[in-house]
C-alpha cells in the first residue's frame, strides 16, 4: 500500500520542520504550508493530502476555519484533520473538535504520540476509502439487478426480446448485455429427440446414399 501523504501547516518554521521530520522518519511523504490559505489551497485540489496537521493559530485562515472549509467540501474521503495546538485547556480542545477536527496534538509535539495519532488517522482514511470503493461496486451491481427487474417483451414463437431501442434481440444477446451472465450452448434431452436425432439420422442416410452411389 502506498503511504498516505501528510500536510503540515504551521506559520512557525521551527515547529513545522520538527513535526515534518518526525513524520518523514515514520515513513510518511510530507508536504508543507506556511499559513492557513496555503493549507486550504493544498487540500482543495485534485490530489489532496489524506491527513492534515493544522496549527490552531495561523495568520490568514486559522486551523478551525480551515477545518470548517474541509467539512463543507463534501467529498467521499475527506482529509483527516489533526489540530496542532499549544493551548491545552479542555475548552479549547472541545472548540477544535466541535469545529470538525478529528483529533488534536499539543505542541511541542511528542514524537511517539504524534506518530501514533497520525497512524490512527491513516487507519481511518484507509477504512473510509475501502468502504467508499465497496459502496461504488455495490451500486454498480444494484444497477444491473434493476435492469433485469423490468417487464421484458418477448416473442411467443422465436423467444426474441425487444430491447429499449425497439429492436428484437436473441435472448442470449439481451442477457449478455444486461447482466454478467454468459451462455454456453447445449441441448436438453427433449430437443435432442426432436431436433438433433432426426438431423443426425438424415446425415447418416445421406452418407449411406453417397456411398452406394460411389460403389456403382
Amino acid at each position: 500500500m502506498i503511504p498516505l501523504q501528510v500536510l503540515v501547516a504551521d506559520d512557525e518554521p521551527v515547529s513545522r520542520t520538527v513535526v515534518g521530520a518526525m513524520l518523514k522518519k515514520a515513513g510518511y511523504p510530507v508536504i508543507f504550508a506556511n499559513d492557513g490559505e496555503q493549507a486550504w489551497q493544498k487540500i482543495d485540489s485534485h490530489d489532496p493530502p489524506a491527513i492534515a496537521l493544522l496549527d490552531w493559530e495561523m495568520p490568514g485562515l486559522q486551523g478551525p476555519e480551515v477545518v470548517q472549509k474541509i467539512r463543507d467540501r463534501k467529498v467521499q474521503t475527506p482529509t483527516y484533520v489533526i489540530l496542532l495546538t499549544s493551548r491545552d485547556s479542555s475548552a479549547d480542545i472541545v472548540e477544535g473538535l466541535r469545529a470538525g477536527a478529528d483529533d488534536y496534538v499539543t505542541k511541542p509535539a511528542n514524537e511517539d504520540e504524534l506518530v501514533a495519532r497520525v497512524n490512527v488517522g491513516a487507519r481511518v482514511v484507509q477504512l473510509q476509502t475501502a468502504l467508499a470503493d465497496r459502496v461504488t461496486s455495490l451500486e454498480e451491481a444494484l444497477a444491473n439487478v434493476k435492469a433485469l427487474q423490468t417487464l421484458l417483451p418477448m416473442c411467443a414463437y422465436c423467444k426474441s426480446i425487444r430491447n429499449d431501442q425497439n429492436y428484437w434481440e436473441k435472448v442470449e444477446t439481451y442477457f449478455t448485455q444486461h447482466s454478467n451472465v454468459s451462455f454456453t450452448h447445449s441441448y436438453c434431452p427433449a430437443c435432442y429427440e426432436h431436433y438433433v436425432r432426426p438431423e443426425l439420422e438424415a446425415l447418416e442416410g445421406a452418407r449411406a446414399a453417397q456411398e452406394r452411389h460411389n460403389r456403382r
Partner: protein, 120 residues
C-alpha cells in the same frame, strides 16, 4: 541560577535522532531556523509592546513559545508563556521587563546553540 536548563538535553537528543540515514541533519536545520526566526520575532514583539499592540504581542509571544518549546529552551519558553498570557489577558503593564528578560534568555540559548554546533 538553578531551575530549568537553558536547553533540555532530552529534547536535543530526540531532535538528533530524527535524521534519516543519508539525509541532511535535522537538528542542525532546526537550530539554524531557530537562530534566524527568533530574533526577527523578538523584534516584532518589541515593536508591538512599545506600541501597546496587544494582538501583536500575543501573536509574537505565541510563535516564540512554539520555537522555544520545539528545541527545549525551557527558560526562554517560560518567559514566552508569561508574555503570551499577558497578551491574552490584554494587560501589557509588565511586558517591557519581560521583553528584556526574553532578550537575556535568548542570548543564553544562542550561546548554548553555538557551543552545540561547534562540539558537533
Amino acid at each position: 541560577m538553578a531551575g530549568p536548563p537553558v536547553l533540555d538535553d532530552a529534547v536535543i537528543a530526540s531532535l538528533r535522532q530524527l535524521t534519516p540515514p543519508g539525509e541532511p541533519d535535522v537538528l542542525a536545520e532546526v537550530l539554524r531556523l531557530f537562530l534566524s526566526e527568533v530574533p526577527r520575532r523578538m523584534e516584532l514583539l518589541r515593536i508591538a509592546c512599545a506600541a501597546g499592540n496587544i494582538e501583536g504581542v500575543y501573536r509574537s509571544a505565541h510563535s516564540l513559545q512554539g520555537s522555544a518549546g520545539n528545541i527545549g529552551a525551557m527558560r526562554l519558553l517560560a518567559v514566552c508563556k508569561k508574555l503570551n498570557d499577558l497578551g491574552r489577558a490584554g494587560d501589557l503593564t509588565h511586558s517591557a521587563s519581560l521583553v528584556d528578560a526574553l532578550g537575556a534568555e535568548y542570548r543564553r540559548v544562542e550561546a548554548e546553540i553555538h557551543r552545540l554546533i561547534t562540539d558537533g
